[in-house]
């Protein structure tokens, strides 16, 4: 009756173990020589100005979202490009449609003025 649960329990354990091991190993193995510069907040190599807990502009979020979308597109396009000469026609068409859909999204965002940074 409970046989399948053993599998799940093992999976759960393994799942918690893996990140745990890396974190603990990191904590154990890393040399600890702190100084104020090392402990300051890292922000793209530029020093922070003012309070860090501030409300961000919504546009920033959408901007990031569109960036991520095209990131993902690239992820799909690489294998697609590599296997291009082995693909059947409809697979190519599917790829094209995928890009067109994303392009439509971009066009929409563009027209709506999302890409303007005000």
């Amino acid at each position: 009756m409970l046989e399948p649960w053993i599998f799940i329990a093992l999976l759960l354990g393994a799942g918690m173990l893996l990140p745990g091991v890396t974190i603990v190993a990191n904590w154990l193995l890393a040399p600890k020589k702190p100084n104020p510069i090392k402990q300051s907040i890292y922000e793209c190599g530029i020093e922070t100005v003012g309070e860090t807990y501030i409300q961000l502009k919504g546009g920033y979020y959408i901007y990031a979202l569109i960036f991520v979308v095209f990131d993902i597109e690239a992820v799909f396009m690489f294998p697609w490009a590599v296997a291009f000469d082995k693909l059947q026609l409809y697979m190519v068409m599917e790829g094209v449609i995928f890009i067109l859909i994303l392009a439509a999204g971009l066009a929409y965002a563009w027209r709506k003025g999302v890409l303007e940074w005000v």
């Binding site: 009756m1 399948p4 859909i101 439509a104 066009a107 929409y108 027209r111 709506k112």
Partner: protein, 483 residues
């Protein structure tokens, strides 16, 4: 894979593709002429309706069983598309009135519809999940359409958070089913139950979670609590669409999964669904009594009706009754769709620009001021109660009969008693309309009026002559997954 496969999902492709194209077209339509977008959206829906009708009577599987085309899916798709047309017609003037007219409304509606279409013909749990998300996410956005109104935002956020929570259950359930059977295909579930001596417990747990996820979509007790808040806060035109479309979509998946993929485990899920049905009917109807806001009242009413449709599931556990149960559920869905769209249409007509006029008391004197509208509302209320000569009576009659055929007398009794309770709050609306004096402020917009007229006519017509609908439904059957 061949072109036939694409033809099988043609309605979906038409609606989703048309939505994407409209998204671009709409960018160049001036803000004060968004009626063009609405008209184009309706054109797309008509094309999809033609596509569905053209393949009526065909039964096949496509994309290796991911998509199922059968009478069940075609019928539901027709229902969804019809609901879509009416929803667009209802929204047009309402959006203008509330000054939230944007072309995206119709586009999001199309996307949501495409999810429903996919749901109707899903033959694989992955497709079910995809469809649920495609159905829901545009609805979350639509619920927030009256931004920056606080209730609309609150409604959308609640719906989104709880929806995501429920989706978690759903996807986790799918994962467990996959873990147990090694496939996500519905036919795989059938095979797994057939081959094993006892039903694998992982499969059961997985399907239980799927039940939770879909139970949330159809607002069954105890997964219903979001409903009144969300229905009340969302713009009324969205509520109308959500109450009918999303619920029908959820039931499409529930019926498909439990009746056609899990009949082997019926002994297990029968008592559970029975209790859910009974609880939902009781809770929805009892809680509706103390509502003073018409939107909340109709929200509880929609919960109660989910309970009635849910009765088809335990009834279908008896194999001989199963085909009839599916048909009764479909008939009830049509009943519910026609009547509810009409009732929400009246609510739309009564709502004022700033969003007030939604208390039941505001309906005082409607019978004198707008006799036709009041008559239509009275008809809808009678239909929701299930009093002849309305289609609601036929729906309840058919459903109760199936439940009794399956020997679930006490469940049918619960249904009858809760229907009696429901008369209390439905008839109160009629009493307020006709017997109280008042000066309601009512809009008269051609499109909205015509939707109310059409639904009222349907409510009455199918109430007297249900034969046409029954004939159509009698040809519906679920594709046998195990042939």
């Amino acid at each position: 894979m061949d072109w036939q496969d694409f033809l099988s999902v043609l309605p979906f492709i038409i609606v989703a593709g048309w939505a994407t194209i409209l998204l671009l077209v709409d960018l160049w339509i001036p803000a004060n002429r968004k009626g063009i977008t609405a008209g184009l959206a309706v054109l797309g829906l008509i094309a999809a309706i033609a596509a569905v009708i053209s393949r009526f009577g065909i039964e096949r599987e496509a994309f290796d069983g991911m998509i199922i085309v059968d009478g069940f899916s075609s019928f539901l798709q027709l229902l969804f598309l019809g609901v879509g047309v009416i929803a667009i017609a209802q929204a047009y003037d309402y959006l203008r009135r509330r000054d939230i007219e944007r072309g995206e409304y119709y586009i999001l509606l199309l996307y949501s519809l495409s999810g429903m279409l996919l749901m109707a013909s899903a033959g694989d749990l992955i497709v079910v999940f995809l469809a649920v998300e495609l159905l829901s996410i545009p609805l979350y956005v639509l619920a927030a359409f009256a931004i920056p109104k606080a209730d609309s935002e609150e409604s959308a956020l609640k719906y989104f958070l709880l929806g995501a929570f429920a989706s978690g259950f759903l996807v986790y359930g799918i994962a467990l089913v996959f873990g147990s059977t090694g496939t996500t295909a519905l036919s795989g579930m059938v095979a797994a139950i057939e081959s094993a001596e006892t039903t694998p417990i992982l499969l059961l747990v997985g399907s239980g979670m799927i039940l939770v996820g879909l139970g949330f979509k159809v607002a069954a007790v105890p997964f219903h609590m979001w409903t009144p808040d969300v229905y009340q806060g969302a713009p009324t035109s969205v509520t109308s669409f959500m109450a009918v479309g999303a619920k029908a979509g959820g039931f499409a998946a529930l019926l498909r999964i439990f009746i056609s993929a899990l009949p082997g485990a019926a002994v297990m899920w029968m008592p559970l669904t029975m209790w859910i049905a009974a609880l939902t009917m009781a809770w929805g109807n009892i809680a509706a009594i103390s509502q003073t806001n018409i939107k909340r009242m109709l929200a509880y009413s929609s919960i109660a009706h989910a309970g009635y449709i849910f009765m088809a599931l335990p009834a279908a556990a008896t194999p001989e009754v199963a085909p009839e149960a599916v048909r009764a559920a479909l008939f009830y869905l049509v009943t519910y769709a026609i009547t509810n769209l009409g009732a929400w249409g009246v609510v739309l007509a009564m709502e004022k620009a700033e969003g007030s006029g939604l208390e039941i008391e505001d309906y005082s004197g409607l019978g004198k001021k707008r006799p036709a509208l009041a008559l239509a509302m009275a008809l809808f209320m009678l239909s929701l109660t299930g009093i002849p000569p309305t289609v609601g009576f036929m729906g309840k009659f058919y459903l109760f009969q199936v439940v009794i055929d399956a020997n679930l007398i006490w469940l049918a009794l619960v249904g009858v008693v809760t229907s009696l309770i429901s008369a209390y709050y439905y008839l109160r609306v009629i009493v307020v309309m006709y017997m109280r004096d008042g000066e309601p402020e009512v809009r008269s917009e051609a499109l909205l009026n015509s939707t109310i007229f059409i639904t009222a006519f349907g409510t009455f017509f199918f109430g007297i002559l249900p034969g046409f609908l029954l004939k159509m439904i009698n040809q519906v059957s679920l594709l046998d997954l195990f042939r």
